[in-house]
């Protein structure tokens, strides 16, 4: 992998460069990513600030980045990178920050339900190969203990034929387990 002319430093921005080739150092704080980000105002640190924090290479600021809510609110809508004059692939960086945050057990408490939903989603694929919406919601409710959410809308969805009660199961269901074992689970990540 080429790292271009950038010197790989021994800190989080260096790790980002090594694993994703995203050059945090190139950001000159124009703020277009933050201006275009649809969830910037709900984040604890907007995208351009995350980049600045990483540029400092300070351990305590890197720790704040990994513990931020921002990295989990990011929708990967790709608006930031499409407007970045330096073409810094912020969504790719966000993916890497999420993996690192999970690996180091630093996930933000306010992101719990977002992560629970991702896990419930992947769990469904692991078991059946396809997303089973009723199962997903039930699984998510068990994980989040958020029992009342969507109770009002579910019967209407069912009546309109939008909720199937029987999951679609692929033939090579075992293949899914293998793929999960060889990727996510191999790295000690939990579903």
């Amino acid at each position: 992998m080429s790292s271009g002319s950038h010197h790989i430093t021994n800190n989080l921005s260096g790790e980002i460069l090594r694993h994703t080739e995203v050059p945090v150092v190139k950001c000159y704080q124009c703020g277009k990513c933050t201006a275009g980000c649809p969830v910037a105002e709900d984040m604890d640190y907007p995208p351009s600030l995350l980049l600045r924090m990483l540029q400092t290479g300070e351990a305590d600021l890197e720790d704040k980045v990994l513990r931020s809510l921002s990295i989990w609110l990011c929708l990967s809508c790709e608006m930031c990178v499409s407007r970045c004059p330096m073409e810094i692939d912020i969504p790719k960086m966000m993916d890497f920050l999420r993996y690192t945050s999970l690996k180091e057990g630093k996930t933000n408490p306010k992101a719990k339900n977002i992560i629970r939903f991702h896990r419930a989603f992947l769990d469904s694929i692991n078991y059946t190969g396809r997303l089973y919406e009723v199962g997903l919601i039930a699984d998510y409710k068990m994980r989040s203990l958020n029992m009342t959410q969507d109770v009002a809308i579910a019967p209407k969805m069912f009546m309109r034929g939008k909720l199937g009660l029987i999951p679609e199961i692929i033939k090579e269901r075992g293949k899914m387990g293998e793929i999960f074992n060889k990727t996510l689970k191999r790295k000690g990540k939990q579903l």
């Binding site: 649809p38 969830v39 709900d42 989990w72 609110l73 929708l75 990967s76 809508c77 790709e78 608006m79 990178v81 499409s82 692939d89 969504p91 993916d95 890497f96 999420r98 993996y99 999970l102 339900n113 977002i114 629970r116 939903f117 991702h118 896990r119 989603f121 992947l122 469904s124 694929i125 190969g129 396809r130 997303l131 919406e133 919601i137 998510y140 989040s144 959410q149 969507d150 009002a152 809308i153 209407k156 969805m157 309109r160 034929g161 939008k162 909720l163 199937g164 679609e168 692929i170 090579e172 293949k175 899914m176 293998e178 793929i179 999960f180 060889k182 990727t183 996510l184 790295k187 990540k189």
Partner: protein
């Protein structure tokens, strides 16, 4: 004419109207859509948020299955699936070592011989060349074409349309006699994968774009993504709460609009599945419309 088809979980689950309208339109233009055998979920947002290799392996298996079945061109109506499959196709083509690694994980070879079409590309290639002669009832409505994020970004990989002010869906609407309005939120995000875990944010993001569509006089919002559709249609109470007003503007798939124009019934395009009822006002057809060549002799089969 046979084409591969990747429905994805939404079209098999909560978005039957998209599947039905896509199939019925394809049939009218002599295209048979063949489902990729034993396909699995692409992993969507959840996979790439949690593990990179997983996020490439799930689409990797789909592409390998399509290739093994000899389906070299596949239609992927869901914008999220389209994005995941296209990004995977790109990454596997760029990096031989990564391709071998993913091959080992999925236990299948993939040579990179599958071409992926999103719904607009499919319409553009197989429907639009003959659509004007098939239009029996102009889609005479002012509509906001909403592309969302994943259909047009990341541009360097998808290489489809413009990132900020795309035109391809507007062009389809124009071809069937409709009037795509100019508006500011064509490619803003609806809140996508946060639909369940942060419904409040979906209400806000979708609310912002709906306010603009309503203020500019749109009669409907046209979409090409089941996530955009379910957020704008199903999450309407959260949206209305954010907007602090009641809205009844319907959210219609581009394939449903095309279907109506070529004479499919409301049932054949799946309006019965919508949460927000689709009520489109009939308008007098004026002369300055773009579709000029309506063949009067075309039989109106379904009424």
């Amino acid at each position: 004419m046979k084409l591969g088809f990747y429905p994805g979980c939404s079209l098999k689950g909560g978005s039957p109207e998209y599947r039905i309208s896509t199939f019925n339109v394809a049939e009218k233009f002599g295209v048979e859509l063949v489902e990729i055998p034993d396909w699995n979920c692409c992993g969507a947002t959840a996979a790439h948020n949690m593990d990179k290799e997983l996020s490439l392996s799930l689409p990797g298996r789909i592409l390998a299955l399509a290739e093994a079945a000899g389906l070299n061109e596949i239609v992927v109506p869901c914008a999220a699936c389209y994005s995941r499959l296209t990004v995977t196709n790109h990454e596997l083509a760029e990096d031989t070592q990564l391709r071998e690694n993913i091959s080992t994980i999925i236990g299948m070879k993939y040579e990179g011989n599958v071409k992926i079409l999103n719904i607009i590309q499919f319409l553009d290639k197989y429907v639009l060349p003959h659509v004007e002669e098939k239009v029996v009832k102009k889609f005479n409505h002012d509509v906001a074409c909403y592309y969302g994020c994943l259909l047009v970004r990341p541009h360097n990989i998808l290489k489809f349309d413009r990132e900020e002010n795309p035109q391809t869906m507007d062009n389809v609407i124009t071809k069937i006699g409709g009037n795509p309005i100019d508006w500011a939120f064509k490619t803003e995000c609806c809140g996508a994968g946060l639909s369940v875990s942060r419904t409040d944010l979906v209400g806000k993001l979708s609310g912002k774009l709906m306010i603009d569509a309503l203020d500019r006089g749109a009669e409907a919002i046209i979409v090409a993504c089941p996530m955009c559709h379910s957020n704008l249609d199903m999450r309407r109470s959260a949206i209305n709460k954010y907007m602090n007003r009641e809205s009844e503007i319907p959210v219609i798939y581009i394939t449903q609009a095309v279907g109506l124009a070529i004479g499919l019934s409301e049932k054949e395009v799946g309006f019965q599945y919508h949460m927000v009822k689709v009520k489109l006002k009939e308008k007098p057809i004026t002369e300055n419309l773009v579709v000029k060549k309506v063949v009067q002799t075309e039989p109106t089969e379904e009424k």
